[in-house]
């Protein structure tokens, strides 16, 4: 009996269970934020490697890019005594600063609900919220608000059908990264699905970093904050004084 089990296990691990696999290329795997940074576009292209005939099931590709997560306070306003005031707040434990999903077809067709739950791919699933206080009954509306506000600003993108699939073998898509990008590791995941079930996945990281002057100022403000503050004041004082001198010279001329 045990020998049989061991044999099955061996087969499971050695045989390529995944008959299809993703091979991915990125137009760039790191983004440098310098002074002139004004958003960026990343081109993802890939191929599906397989060693057998193309299965008859419907093929789908889902691409998800997530920026670094941070906790958020979400507040709701309500009218009290004629004026609008914040009445309750929910803390969202982790919401990515940026999140983009692109699919090769309609959402319901390319990914089943179960797979979405397991891998947390759609935007609502990517936001983690557990700590709603007991006084708040409809905590879901707070998470919805985060999605709504961030979708409006372009930080969250849901683009169905944006992945171009050719001959069931090649795919490509592009993702626009907005100008107000936060530093960090942008986890990029590619899922290959058949009939809504994930058959293969691939994960890589796009490195987003400040460089040059941006990096120097950021580090200085954190590590030598007194010096940084004094530097800001010296700049302010000399700017004010300089303008005054300049104007006096101009008026005398």
């Amino acid at each position: 009996m045990m020998r049989w089990l061991a044999a099955i296990l061996l087969i499971l691990t050695t045989l390529p269970l995944r008959a299809e696999e993703v091979v991915l290329g990125l137009s760039r795997n790191s983004i440098s934020i310098d002074t002139t940074f004004d958003g960026s576009e990343i081109l993802l292209f890939g191929a599906i490697k397989r060693e057998e005939a193309i299965p008859a099931d419907e093929l789908g590709v889902v691409v998800a890019i997530a920026g670094p997560s941070q906790p958020l306070d979400v507040r709701r306003k309500e009218r009290r005594f004629g004026i609008w005031v914040n009445v309750d707040a929910v803390e969202v434990d982790a919401a990515p600063s940026f999140y983009a999903v692109a699919t090769s077809g309609p959402w319901e067709d390319v990914l089943s609900q179960v797979e979405d739950l397991r891998h947390k791919i759609s935007i609502p699933r990517a936001i983690r919220s557990v700590g709603a206080p007991g006084s708040v009954r409809d905590a879901q509306r707070f998470t919805d608000a985060v999605i709504r506000i961030r979708e409006r600003s372009g930080a969250y993108q849901m683009r169905e059908g944006a992945v171009e699939l050719m001959q069931q073998t090649l795919f490509q898509t592009s993702v626009n990264l907005p100008a107000n990008l936060t530093e960090g590791d942008y986890v990029t995941r590619i899922f290959l699905t058949r009939n809504g079930q994930i058959v293969s996945q691939y994960e890589t990281i796009i490195d987003v970093r400040k460089v040059g002057l941006e990096r120097w100022l950021h580090v200085m403000s954190r590590e030598q904050s007194v010096l940084y503050g004094l530097m800001s004041l010296v700049i302010a004082i000399s700017a004010g004084w300089g303008a005054s001198v300049l104007f006096r010279v101009l008026r005398q001329a």
Partner: protein, 305 residues
């Protein structure tokens, strides 16, 4: 031309910032206000995080105030002695204000309280100033004699008298210290330099001439704003020096232009314009409270100590 700001972590148009700085600088030079009450909401509007906007605004105010105060020094319209007395009161008041602010924060709803405070206070000051200057303008139009503003007699009786030559006053130091302190408390709670509360207080409570008030107010704003900048830079690291620099370039030039405009205007015209400005800010804040916001939810990063 887009520029990425290292601390604010957003990319904005550099010319927009230059213009914004210039606009606030003109007001600063004309009226002796720092302009923080105007700069912060405007920066917020173009997408700068509110905390960064407040802290960086303070840094920019240092520059434009220095630029404007130097122009006033040349015109001898800065009462250094009065400015110093007000400043001492102001720093003590700011200390109290920070304590009060933390106490209110512990009770919650501090934002609402600040806004309500603002609306009531600005409404009263702006309204009073508007009607007073309107009367003054009417009087001068009719050609009648300009009646000197009433001076409180009990103020004359207080001890510790001091001569403020530039302002032409011989009064006790107690009222200026008290005015400085109360403005300091308000400034700390509301998170602004308090110039546009200080200016009417100097005109109406201390009876200083309008022309001297502007320069003197600017003089003390420099120190308050510098203090605030350091506090923000050290405690929360939210001063964006690139943003500040862009605002400054516009601001210092605007401040020079502002003082030129201010010097060519009559005192009561200057007062009525400031009154309108104060009332406009008051009106805008009141609208925010009364009208239903487009989005009732708001998100902000959790600040973990």
């Amino acid at each position: 031309m887009q520029i990425y700001l290292p601390i604010a972590e957003v990319s904005v148009n550099a010319f927009l910032l230059l213009g914004l700085g210039g606009l606030v600088g003109v007001l600063s030079g004309m009226f002796g206000v720092g302009g923080g009450f105007l700069m912060t909401p405007l920066l917020f509007f173009i997408g700068i995080p509110p905390a960064v906007a407040v802290a960086t605004g303070a840094n920019q105010i240092v520059a434009s105030s220095i630029s404007a105060v130097l122009a006033h020094f040349r015109r001898r319209s800065v009462d250094l002695r009065m400015g110093t007395v007000l400043l001492i009161g102001g720093l003590v008041g700011a200390g109290f204000g920070v304590m009060l602010f933390n106490y209110l924060k512990a009770m919650g709803q501090v934002d609402l309280l600040v806004t309500l405070f603002y609306v009531v206070f600005l409404g009263i000051i702006g309204g009073l100033m508007f009607f007073e200057s309107l009367r003054a303008i009417r009087r001068t139009r009719r050609g009648g004699p300009v009646r000197p503003r009433k001076k409180h007699t009990w103020i004359q009786k207080l001890p510790l008298k001091m001569r403020f030559r530039t302002s032409g006053l011989y009064i006790s130091v107690i009222p200026p210290v008290l005015v400085g302190m109360s403005v300091g408390v308000l400034a700390a709670i509301m998170g602004v330099g308090g110039g546009f509360i200080m200016v009417p207080a100097m005109i109406y409570l201390l009876g200083m001439p309008t022309k001297v008030v502007v320069g003197t107010s600017l003089f003390q704003i420099i120190f308050v704003a510098a203090f605030t900048t350091m506090l923000h830079a050290v405690s929360s690291q939210i001063v964006d020096v690139v943003l500040a620099l862009l605002l400054m370039v516009g601001g210092v030039l605007g401040a020079q232009i502002g003082t030129q405009i201010g010097a060519r205007m009559k005192a009561e015209q200057l007062r009525i314009l400031l009154a309108i400005l104060v009332l406009a800010v008051c009106f805008k804040l009141a609208l925010d409270l009364l009208l239903q916001p487009g989005e009732v939810f708001s998100i902000s990063a959790v600040v973990r100590p």
